[in-house]
């Protein structure tokens, strides 16, 4: 009841309308590996009713499905699960078409073509072409360089122009000035028959810079905001019950405190409210991340955004939309996202220092040559060579190259980076904050006292429970075994909302549910055991069932590992205290807090941050979203809610907690490599600038220096390549050779 509606809605919201009532949805399927998976997924999905087409992209491990809006929403995720694949919907922001990247790649291709061909001509000149041939080659170079610079240079010219118009400057200003002056000077020198022209330098400069720029763009955070996803959770309106008994559907803005609302089973409470009439279970996972549904009856308060699951409820609104829980969350997210943007990326910090230094250097070179040599042409040539040789090619590659290598490595392990800057931040993290439900646990309740419950009773209870979709019922049905002695038809089972299930088998009335409802005969009751379901026979207690949220398999070892690495590990949960405390001791977390509302989680995080700690927040629920956004860096499992995934910097798709130490280690490694790259780029400039300043740079030296420095940075970044994949491949190959050898030996004998 709850799961399908929520999932269906998510499919509708997660899809993008294309044309004629067709919708396109994008699903992430981390488990796909081979041709077999491709055809299985594509065939399996396209046979579903309502699906028009399904196309797998193996590189991104996604499948894009076009479905017909007029039909019933196809159960895509269930179908994929049935095929044996874990799947979740990619949010709309994650897959936005990246036109800027395509533009950069086109520019890069053209620049590469120009640089290569001009370099080919330049080699002829350097090799000592005759005067006539040299002039010809220079003119040809100019003819290639002009369209290439015009096409590929736009990226830099446009950005420089914007900066200049705003009366400021950025890294693109010296680049644009340098490229433009180089071309103009070379054209003048070619026309006047001078021996040196720098067309090759101008184009290869653009080529290297565009490589850096393209990689940087890949790693830049998309403008993904979790806020819009959060807004989708709020229903558009609700049915309002007027005093005269008439009903009216009002938009959420028009709902005022005091109005009577009718909330059907399967829909969300539009605003904070108090139950007036009705008895139901509500799913409050949005508010506190707690997995088990909460029972509410008349007089109980309900937060806006919670989902009514079993029976219709009449409730009195206690707040308007603006003061409701969801609106509060959205405000918190806005504040938190603003705070994170204060982080300055390493590359940006360097470019801030770099730009004025280069401008000044070129200007000083120009003035001093003009003053001491009195040769305008020479002075311009030296100033230009300073601009070219200091071009931030190596610097522009230093950070993004490493980030791309790190992202590739993490993607193989199943971790997606949504923001390259987060990789820089993650390397500094010293405190790890975990959410409990759904992050350290599986988020699904499991029967805890299976052994002392009695197998026969359990089988009967399980058979009855299989007619309900309540999470506890599912857990019971899963724990029991199908027994042929229990014959049960659907019409023998009745579900009483908020109480439980009742079934009549062979004249005996069984009840499964809340203790005070199921057990009518006087018996001692444990008042404190809330998350307990009892099974009764003719009103007499048969068994008590307790449920537990299972820890994820790797939770204990991962936390141990993190503790050993001197991380301060903390658990902040919205769950009740006894559950959190017993869980904490089981997985080995010494610091924890329970009963936290989203705002309190954020408060904890800002307090820890203020005390100088750098936090990594790992969480999955809607209630964690503000905390994820507020933390220095954040991770979410792939099974997290849309909102959780949107607010996190990293998403680990296979829900394996081991990815957390792996990602941190990768981030630290990346930071080391970035530092080395930057140090090298600076060292290179320190050597090259004096040479340029003295006017000793010829086109050959400029080309060599530029290519060599960029190459060193790229090669250094490739050191990331010594990763696990290659080692396992080598091992596989060795094993294969061994088995082949054994086979041949067997054959010869």
């Amino acid at each position: 009841m709850t799961a399908p509606t929520a999932a269906d809605k998510e499919l509708f919201f997660g899809s993008r309308p294309i044309e004629d009532g067709l919708m396109q949805a994008e699903l992430s399927v981390p488990g796909m590996k081979c041709a077999g998976c491709i055809s299985k997924i594509e065939k399996g999905l396209s046979t579903l009713p309502g699906v028009v087409s399904a196309r797998v992209n193996l590189s991104t491990k996604r499948v894009s499905v076009v479905w017909n809006k007029s039909d019933h929403e196809p159960p895509l995720i269930d179908a994929l699960n049935g095929l044996g694949f874990d799947a979740h919907l990619s949010s709309a922001q994650e897959r936005s078409e990246d036109n800027e990247l395509r533009r950069l790649i086109r520019s890069l291709a053209v620049a590469g073509f120009g640089a290569g061909n001009i370099m080919m001509l330049s080699v002829g000149v350097w090799a000592g072409a005759g005067e006539e041939a040299r002039a010809l080659f220079h003119w040809l170079s100019a003819a290639i360089a002009l369209p290439v610079l015009m096409f590929s240079g736009r990226v830099f010219f446009a950005s420089a122009w914007t900066a200049l118009r705003a009366r400021s400057t950025n890294m693109d200003v010296p680049i644009s000035v340098g490229v433009f002056l180089t071309f103009a000077l070379s054209l003048y020198d070619t026309a006047t028959g001078r021996p040196h022209a720098y067309f090759d330098a101008a184009t290869s400069l653009l080529f290297f810079l565009l490589i850096g720029r393209t990689l940087d763009h890949v790693m830049r955070a998309r403008a993904h905001s979790a806020i819009s996803a959060l807004q989708k959770l709020a229903p558009g309106g609700a049915t309002v019950l007027h005093k005269d008994g008439s009903t009216e559907y009002l938009s959420i803005d028009d709902i005022e405190p005091g109005m009577l609302l009718r909330v059907a089973a399967g829909s969300r409470f539009p605003v904070d409210a108090v139950v007036v009439d009705g008895d139901s279970d509500i799913d409050v996972s949005v508010i506190n991340g707690e997995s088990s549904p909460q029972h509410v009856k008349a007089g109980d308060p309900v937060a806006g955004g919670s989902l009514n699951t079993t029976a219709p409820i009449t409730a009195r609104a206690t707040a308007s939309e603006k003061q409701s829980f969801l609106a509060d969350m959205i405000r918190m997210m806005e504040n938190a996202e603003g705070a994170r943007h204060q982080y300055r990326r390493i590359a940006d910090r360097i470019s801030d220092l770099y730009t004025p230094v280069v401008h000044l250097g070129a200007l000083i070179a120009f003035c001093s040559w003009l003053a001491f040599a009195g040769d305008l042409h020479r002075a311009v040539a030296v100033a230009v060579s300073v601009l070219i040789i200091t071009c931030p090619c190596a610097l522009g590659l230093a950070v993004p190259m490493v980030q791309v290598m790190a992202a590739k490595r993490l993607f193989r392990a199943g971790v997606m980076i949504k923001d390259g800057a987060a990789l820089e931040r993650l390397a500094d993290v010293d405190t790890i904050v975990f959410d409990k439900t759904g992050t350290l646990t599986t988020g699904m309740p499991r029967l805890a006292n299976e052994n002392d419950a009695g197998m026969r009773a359990l089988n009967v209870a399980g058979a009855i429970a299989s007619y309900s979709t309540h999470p506890y019922s599912r857990a019971l049905a899963q724990a029991s075994r199908l027994s042929p002695h229990i014959r049960l038809e659907a019409n023998q089972v009745a579900e009483t909302p908020g109480n439980g299930l009742e079934a009549e088998i062979d004249g005996v009335t069984y009840r499964l549910g809340r203790p005070d409802w199921a057990v009518t005969l006087p018996a001692k009751q444990d008042a404190d055991e809330k998350s307990c379901v009892v099974f009764s026979k003719n009103g007499e207690l048969v068994a008590r069932y307790h449920f537990e949220d299972d820890a994820r398999p790797s939770a204990r070892t991962v936390i141990q590992k993190l503790n050993q690495c001197d991380f301060y590990v903390l658990m902040l949960s919205g769950d009740r205290e006894p559950a959190v405390s017993s869980f904490a001791s089981r997985v080995g977390v010494s610091s924890w807090q329970a009963n936290l509302r989203p705002a309190e989680k954020v408060k904890q995080i800002t307090e820890l941050t203020a005390s100088g700690r750098k936090l990594l927040m790992v969480g999955d629920g809607v209630n964690d979203a503000p905390a994820l956004a507020a933390a220095y860096a954040s991770m979410a499992p792939g099974s997290a809610t849309d909102i959780g995934r949107n607010s996190a910097n990293f998403v680990y798709l296979n829900d394996d907690l081991n990815n957390i130490p792996l990602t941190i280690e990768t981030a630290r490694r990346a930071k080391t490599l970035m530092r080395q790259n930057i140090a090298f780029a600076i060292l290179y400039n320190a050597i090259a600038v004096p040479i340029a300043f003295l006017g000793l740079v010829t086109p050959l030296i400029a080309a060599l220096a530029m290519s060599a420095s960029s190459l060193v940075v790229v090669l250094n970044s490739f050191r990331f390549g010594g990763d696990t994949q290659r080692i396992t491949n080598l091992k596989k190959r060795r094993d294969l050779t061994k088995s082949l050898l054994a086979q041949t030996q067997a054959q010869t004998q």
């Binding site: 081979c34 041709a35 193996l58 291709a109 290569g116 061909n117 001509l121 010809l136 290639i144």
Partner: protein
Amino acid sequence: MSVMVLLVLVSISMGAVGLAVFLWSFNARQYDDMDGAAERILIDDDED
């Protein structure tokens, strides 16, 4: 000399053709799923 001009022009136009082919295939989204393209050749399409 004139032979050289011819050769240079030929080589540059060959490069230009290569660039044009790349831009065409890029715009036709042939590079969107490199891993998938490598695996799809193994799929039997008998039914279709």
